[in-house]
């Protein structure tokens, strides 16, 4: 198979539509999970959902895996549909690129809300990174996290309202252009619904004698980098550089090739850091 034929075959799969189906499932299951979630007793209510609430474990798993799949399929969709993105204006492209960190932060706040050992550590680290950003950092932390002051209350609002609205506002034009009918994608929806029957969503209770807690899988590289660099550089500037390079990586841009090389190096570096984090 030639390199030219590969994107053509992959493009035949409707990755964007599949990711949208996962988003729909994530939203519906998210509403259900929120009915039993209590930000004032975050870990207790999450554990109770798995152990006591009828089908609670299933709906939490459905919410977890449909959200993860939404993100992963969005990435595949971006890579496959990259060639046809030339028609977008700079503003349209910029808005779509910003949806990626927003989705990632939605996943991330989901991890924090579990308030298990992974979630609690992820929340503490996020707050420390934001507070290290000069001038606007404390205000951003107050608006979206503020775990030390308000527990899970603001993270909960961020997860179920603020970032969803922000994502919708950014992707609105894109969604209006490419509409789907969920009835055309019933096998995809069925697979996600079935997968969650057999695989439970993770939860990490606090255990004595645990010497290493790894964050969410997409956060591993960043967690490792925070070991060597200050929070502002490792937690904000480093990921922001990737998003900015992605925004500039357009065919008509004069630094197009340099940006592509930068993105590949960044991803390789992140992969190495993630592997290093797993080796601890």
């Amino acid at each position: 198979m030639t390199m030219k034929a590969l994107p053509g075959n992959l493009a035949a799969v409707k990755w964007g539509a599949w990711s949208l189906v996962c988003l729909y499932i994530s939203l519906v299951s998210g509403v259900l999970v929120a009915l039993h979630y209590d930000p004032a007793a975050a870990y207790y209510s999450t554990a109770a959902m798995d152990l006591l609430v009828p089908f609670g474990e299933y709906f939490r798993s459905l919410h977890f895996y449909s959200s993860q799949l939404f993100f992963l399929l969005t990435i595949v969709h971006l890579v496959v549909a990259y060639r046809s993105s030339d028609s977008y204006t700079t503003a349209q492209w910029g808005r779509l690129i910003v949806t990626l960190p927003v989705v990632l932060l939605l996943l991330f706040t989901g991890y924090i809300l579990r308030a298990d050992s992974t979630g609690a550590s992820a929340g503490a680290i996020a707050e420390a990174i934001l507070l290290d950003i000069p001038l606007l950092g404390p205000a951003i932390n107050s608006a979206f996290f503020s775990i030390t002051e308000h527990g899970m209350q603001r993270v909960y609002v961020t997860h179920i309202i603020t970032f969803d609205l922000l994502w919708l506002a950014l992707a609105w034009e894109h969604l209006r252009r490419y509409r789907i009918r969920i009835t055309d994608y019933l096998p995809t929806a069925g697979l996600v619904l079935l997968f969650s029957v057999f695989v439970a969503a993770p939860i990490d209770p606090e255990k004595l004698g645990v010497s290493y807690i790894s964050g969410p899988w997409f956060f591993l590289g960043l967690q490792e980098l925070l070991r060597y660099l200050p929070p502002l550089v490792a937690g904000f500037i480093f990921p922001a550089l990737f998003v900015f390079a992605l925004f500039l990586a357009r065919k008509h841009h004069r630094f197009f090739k340099s940006m592509l090389i930068f993105l590949v190096i960044w991803l390789l570096l992140y992969l190495i850091l993630s592997v290093l984090a797993l080796l601890h």
Partner: protein, 136 residues
């Protein structure tokens, strides 16, 4: 009748200035509203059981140590990025599960990436229950 170009530009600039002032005057109350913190009451934790010398008690936010005739409370919040520290009893030290910073049981920094020692809290020792009151 069409306005001259310079007049149109002047109107546009004036509009933009008003818009800018409007946005800034909206942002300020928003900034103050979001950033407001209710003053926190000092938290007093009462410990009903006595801790024998050489023992310790683990709490969500601190660890209470007792050695000979001394009792002290040390924070479990890592000074690097705020993760909750674990107590490694065999080495008598606190270790961060996120980046493995280490602290002695009295809060001194042993190795990084953390750069500052741990907070300690005042402990009031009593003869009757509650035997210890820790103020956070």
């Amino acid at each position: 009748m069409r306005r001259p170009a310079s007049k149109s530009r002047r109107i546009l600039v004036t509009r933009r200035i008003f818009l800018g002032i409007g946005i800034v005057s909206l942002l300020y109350p928003l900034y103050r509203f979001i950033g407001f913190r209710l003053p926190r009451k000092p938290q007093r934790i009462e410990v009903a059981k006595q801790i024998l010398p050489g023992q310790f008690r683990l709490f969500p936010n601190f660890i209470l140590f007792a050695r000979k005739d001394r009792v002290w409370a040390v924070s479990r919040k890592c000074t690097h990025l705020g993760c909750t520290l674990h107590y490694v009893e065999k080495d008598d030290l606190l270790e961060c599960p996120c980046h493995q910073s280490r602290f002695s049981s009295d809060g001194r920094l042993l190795n990084g990436p953390a750069k500052a020692p741990l907070n300690t809290y005042p402990v009031e020792k009593r003869q009757d229950p509650p035997y210890y009151v820790v103020t956070l």
